[in-house]
Amino acid sequence: MRMVIQGGRVIDPAHQTDSIADLFIADGQVAGLGQPPGGFIPEQVIDAHKHIVCPGLIDLCARLREPGQEHKATIASETRAAAAGGITTLVCPPDTDPVIDEPAVVEWIRRRAKFAGQARVLTLGALTHRLRGEHLTEMAALQEVGCAGVSDGGHPIASSRVLRRALEYATTFGLTVFLTPLDPELGNGLAHEGQVATRMGLPGIPVAAETGMIARDLELIRDLGVRVHFGRLSSSRAVELIARAQAEGLPVTADVAVHHLHLTEMDLTHFDSRCHVRPPLRGLRDQAVLRAGLASGVLTALCSDHQPHEPDAKQAPFGDTEPGISGLDTLLGLSLRLVRDGVLSLPALIERLTWGPARILGLDCGHLGVGARADICVFNPETDWRVEPGILNSQGQNTPFLDWELQGRVTYTLLEGHIVYEGEG
């Protein structure tokens, strides 16, 4: 299949490209930009005038709920939502049921994703058996079947001894380790420890629950030289710790969930369970520093932290609800809002959604160089849309962004040169 995407503004941060140009695709790969390759006769032409053409988005954290929680969502339903949101690669953390701690689960997810055919699903293997923080998993075997890295899967390892061994073992095989820093004991609360939690009578999660873990982890990394990615930072002090570690030359990266850049603890007022997330929404200053960290590149990726739920999971008093936001549908729109808010430029934003996460994963994707896989997102940055009930493609309708006016809608999503989504734009 040969295709040309005509007249769009092509933004490819990996190659510092930002220009109006035609993009040529053949055999599932990028065949050229600007000038067609010799003898290129397209079978299909996509008109992308006034549209942005960029690499397909890479989401570093998306729970697809399969296997184990199919009442919340399935690989089929969520990869469809991803395609509609311009996301071509999803990274699935290991806290499925069963846990991704052995090759068979990896294979199973891969088969289901391939069958759905809507987006590429990468898996992170568990660092420890059943994520219990006790026994190491067979990381070499997990790597051989294609795990993109190993992770604590949202269950931080309390024992420094086990974590150190797990990091050492992972680095033996050159695996990147994905950690979610939140002290299991100190972080055992429901809301950011501050004036809102105090008023609401909700048990607080102090910032030290996050920074204490990061500080410990950084000391272990310093000794071992292992590549570590910290997922979903929530506090200003965490950003400062990571910035300092990077300045020292430690091989660490970090990301932030897009909802942490738009919501704060104030949104919990009236016990809105849709804003129940872990790590918790923190203060305005935290939000400002997270935004600045994304702009400066201390945070190299922006993700959805997608956690779809069935309605019942959120229909209870705040403390009895499950944490998480369904985020695939709103990732692009909420991200583009950061450009409008003057946080960072459009090319820089696209970088945090494509080439940034690709580098963290160490994969040859997230760019539009000749020969690259043609995973592409075409969107109209001017289209306004309103987040309305039932509008989400995800099976999980749990979003606190209901009634928000967002800008930017996907018109085409291509996965290896195939159109997996076509919208009105």
Binding site: E193, G194, A197, R199, G201, L202, G204, T269, P317, G319
Partner: protein, 326 residues
């Protein structure tokens, strides 16, 4: 919180009674004045008013309670309502049914008012968002968030002894962190313009940025009690020792227990309050609890009139809403 809070209608009238936060001076004085007028009912030969005749009040207690549930029951009965008591302790048998299912089941029994206590902060507000519009929800305590009827009976009791709030210094002593009573009382006292509200507790029993609630923080009891007009002691739960919040009851009593000697630091006519149930020898010495300055039992009595007032005010607004003759 804004005037659009779910407990108020468009005219700012009380439809539910969930939290003190966001209410006005007028709301509070209306309740206090109504309670004052209802206080005489208990002294009559027939202790009943027909206000809620034909209405059904359900006491829905997901947490154990004696005093609060009983005074709510008495209040409802003195207003001629039918009362249904459901004590749904958080047993595993109950866990299967969601709160929403429980709610719909009781709704199906055609009730008019829910009085609810639950261990989760925000549970009463959750109920109020999901009940049918003719039902009023009264919060009888939700987690560590609010216990607004207790706060109203506390300020009612204070007002009967010391009506000039701007001149008052009030100290609240003990486990502020876990106390819904303290949170609601602080809001109520601030709305009524109390001169100085103090909280006295060790750091482990104070929530973060508690001063933003409009209180002055003391860590030492003698300093905090100096010249106060009202001392409110809070109950200390024994579980706090296990959560590494305190070393022992003995040390707590030594540091924060109210004795006659310490009470002498307060104004000579200071009153002593406690929401109950009291732990003698843990937060308060028996001689103080049973002494002449204690108004603890008076609080219990006042609880009935205050709850009658809140019940008639909220259901009165509902009746207006549904076009009934209240």
């Amino acid at each position: 919180m804004s005037a659009t809070h779910i407990q108020l209608d468009a005219q700012g009238r009380l439809l539910h009674f969930l939290t003190i936060e966001g209410l006005t001076h007028r709301h509070l004085t209306d309740i206090l004045d109504t309670a004052e007028s209802l206080r005489g009912v208990a002294e009559r030969r027939v202790k009943k008013l027909p206000t809620l005749h034909g209405k059904t009040v359900v006491n829905l207690f997901f947490e154990a309670s004696t005093r609060t549930r009983t005074t709510f029951e008495l209040a409802a009965k003195r207003l001629s309502a039918d009362v249904l008591n459901l004590n749904i302790a958080t047993s595993s048998a109950v866990k299967g049914e969601s709160l929403l299912d429980t709610l719909h089941n009781i709704e199906a029994m055609q009730c008019d008012m829910f009085v609810m206590r639950h261990s989760q902060s925000g549970a009463a507000e959750f109920m109020a968002r999901h009940v049918k519009p003719h039902i009023a929800v009264l919060n009888a305590g939700d987690g560590c968030h609010a216990h607004p009827t207790q706060a109203m009976l506390d300020v009612f009791t204070i007002r009967r002894h010391k009506p000039d709030f701007p001149s008052l210094q009030i100290a609240i002593v003990g486990d502020i962190l876990h106390s819904r009573v303290a949170r609601s009382l602080i809001h109520a006292l601030n709305i009524l313009g109390a001169g100085n509200i103090r909280v006295i507790a060790p750091r482990t029993l104070l929530p973060a940025q508690v001063e933003n609630l409009g209180v002055q923080v003391f860590h030492r009891l003698p300093e905090g009690l100096r010249d106060v007009d009202v001392v409110v002691m809070l109950r200390l739960q024994r579980e706090r020792m296990e959560g590494a919040l305190l070393p022992s009851e003995q040390e707590f009593f030594q540091q924060y227990g109210l004795t006659e000697e310490r009470l002498a630091l307060a104004k000579p006519d200071a009153i002593v309050m406690h929401p109950g149930p009291i732990n003698r020898g843990v937060e308060i010495d028996s001689r103080v609890a049973d002494g002449p300055r204690s108004v603890i039992l008076e609080q219990v009595t006042n609880g009935i009139a205050v709850r009658m007032a809140i019940m008639s005010i909220t259901l009165g607004h509902h009746a207006r809403l549904t076009g009934e003759d209240a």
